[in-house]
């Protein structure tokens, strides 16, 4: 039998991190994701792989520990939930500006402010649109199962190192707290310092040896012409990512009359709503963006030609719906539905919204 375990999404992230050969995790407790650091502390990965785990004094400190370690070419990550992620935004902007690979996990809870600890998807704007200052992008992966929580750790790092760009797993309280079956990846070995020097010595601060030019990690550029050039370089990189790295899942999309667009736990609720719709003779499909950035605009635009209307379902007052509207570009009616502030919509409510806002509306 495969290595099947029953785990919380948060625990799956932690175990997957150890197995991915991550060098260091820095974090600060916050509900609903404290199990990540709790699991790591209990597992003592320094004994298993030599992985460093440290509870920082704040999220601000944690993200800057990530900056320092990532700039050394190491595989490093952090995790938090919405208020903590807000605090990390300064560091994230610096990491993006300095083109450092790292993985950040956001297990979203309801806001604004201290808000609630219950599940939410209201961090879409802050993670997909920036959040920190300046023109930058994060590669944003949205898991909808515990399995994906585990799988996206390695995928996130792969993309982060491929493009020297921070990657983010945008999860929520449901996926973080629920337990499901998960097949864990085999243990990968951590890279040795020599290997890191060989792979990333062209940019990482590994120590200026063998007469190589010194490496400087910075996001500062006093001359605006050079800052603009750096930004153009970033934009070219983002364009390449947009063209190559879009990921999505389509369910029931062979010949639907109506389309749901939803990610994460909302996508699962939509799957149930699709079953309920079927019982009523309504043919609905689901497009689930797996990458929220880059966004699957082309596929949504294509599907818009086949359906009579699109309902965007998210646990927010309507954030991703803006991107769907841009993608659809007026071809067909697009509406938003979602409970928020820590409330989770039921499949019945979703179906009712489809009937009133799209079919009847």
């Amino acid at each position: 039998m495969e290595d099947v375990k029953l785990m919380k999404g948060n625990e799956a992230v932690a175990e997957a991190a150890i197995r991915a050969g991550v060098d260091a995790y820095f974090g600060y407790p916050i509900t609903p994701q404290s199990e990540v650091i709790e699991y790591l502390m209990a597992e003592e990965p320094h004994k298993r792989t030599g992985m460093v785990v440290l509870q920082a004094e704040s999220e601000l400190a944690a993200i800057n520990m990530v900056y320092g370690a990532a700039a050394c070419g190491k595989k490093v990550m952090t995790s938090s939930s919405s208020p903590g992620i807000s605090l990390k935004q300064e560091g994230i902007s610096y990491i993006a500006g300095s083109e450092l690979p790292c993985l950040i996990v956001d297990v979203v809870r309801g806001g604004p402010g201290l808000g609630t600890i219950q599940p939410s998807q209201a961090d879409y704007f802050q993670m997909v649109k920036g959040g920190g200052h300046g023109d930058y992008r994060l590669i944003v992966l949205a898991p909808s199962t515990v399995q994906e929580m585990a799988d996206f750790v390695e995928l996130g790092f792969e993309l982060a190192f491929k493009y020297r760009n921070p990657a983010l797993i945008l999860s929520d309280g449901v996926i973080g707290q629920m337990m499901e079956k998960v097949v864990l990846p085999p243990q990968k070995e951590r890279l040795g310092d020599e290997e890191i020097d060989k792979r990333y010595g062209s940019w990482a601060t590994t120590g200026k040896k063998n007469g190589r030019e010194r490496n400087i990690i910075t996001s500062l550029e006093l001359k605006p012409e050079r800052q603009e050039a750096h930004n153009l370089h970033l934009q070219a990189k983002y364009k390449e990512i947009s063209e190559k790295e879009v990921r999505l899942e389509k369910i029931n999309c062979e010949n639907p009359d109506y389309l749901f667009v939803a990610y994460g736990s909302s996508a699962r609720i939509c799957q149930k709503a699709i079953q309920l719709a079927e019982e009523k003779g309504i043919k609905a499909g689901l497009l689930r963006p797996i990458t929220l950035w880059p966004f699957p605009s082309k596929e949504i635009n294509k599907l818009a030609e086949q359906v009579k209307g699109i309902l965007v379902v998210e646990m927010s007052a309507g954030q991703m719906v803006e991107d769907v509207k841009l993608a659809v570009n007026g071809k067909v009616k697009v509406e938003h539905f979602g409970r928020f502030g820590g409330m989770v919509h039921s499949p019945d409510e979703v179906l009712e919204a489809l009937e009133t806002k799209i079919i009847g509306g």
Binding site: P29, S34, M41, S58, L60, L114
Partner: protein, 257 residues
Amino acid sequence: MAENILTPEEIIKRGELVFKKTKLMTDNELSYCPGCGHGVAHRITMEVIEELGLEEKTIGVAPVGCSVLAYEFMNVDMQEAAHGRAPAVATGIKRVYPDKTVFTYQGDGDLAAIGTAETLHACNRGENITIIFINNGIYGMTGGQMAPTTLPGMKSSTSPYGRDINMMGHPLKITELIAMLPGTVYVTRQAVHKPGLVRKAKKAIKKAFELQQENKGTTFVEIVSNCNSGWKMTPVDANNWLDKHMLDYYPLGDLKG
């Protein structure tokens, strides 16, 4: 029920009142675990405000921690701060209302981890505010993670095998640091797990608020407290443990003033 047991109303009628809750505590049911020190610390703080006649001029700042809901219980004007930022928020209040009485009420994670910078700098500026610091050696609110004040060897959900000072550093005696700052006028460490200590702690809080009226600088009252939930002990065991272990590392008494 036996005939001679009196109802609360009958007791009150007889005029045998031995204790009355200060009107500066609301009637809301406390959200704290039974036996938690937060409730007592709330009460004596508000009794002091009442006894000093400061009700109408007091503005309090609640932290993020188990006492995040302090504003539900403390019957004066209150603000809720982001995690660790209460001393900065209090600075803002005091600077625009120098004649008001301003206090923060913070846990050890809030004050000595994420909010260390705000704490040290407010004290260093000598802001005329009173800081009530509840040190229970753990993050109670989030389910018992290690705090900066967790003792060596002490178990928590992020130090499940006991705090290893080689990996996690030493418990932070932030009160000792605060006492070194010229901006502070009165720095003291108290406890509330025994009646005698409660009386002493109340006296200390009173002194702190009195000094605030004289605009002499920051006053800082640490209360070494318990967390039976986070420590995974019965309330009685938690108090005994506090007495035996916490007070060794965090000895009671005035550090300054």
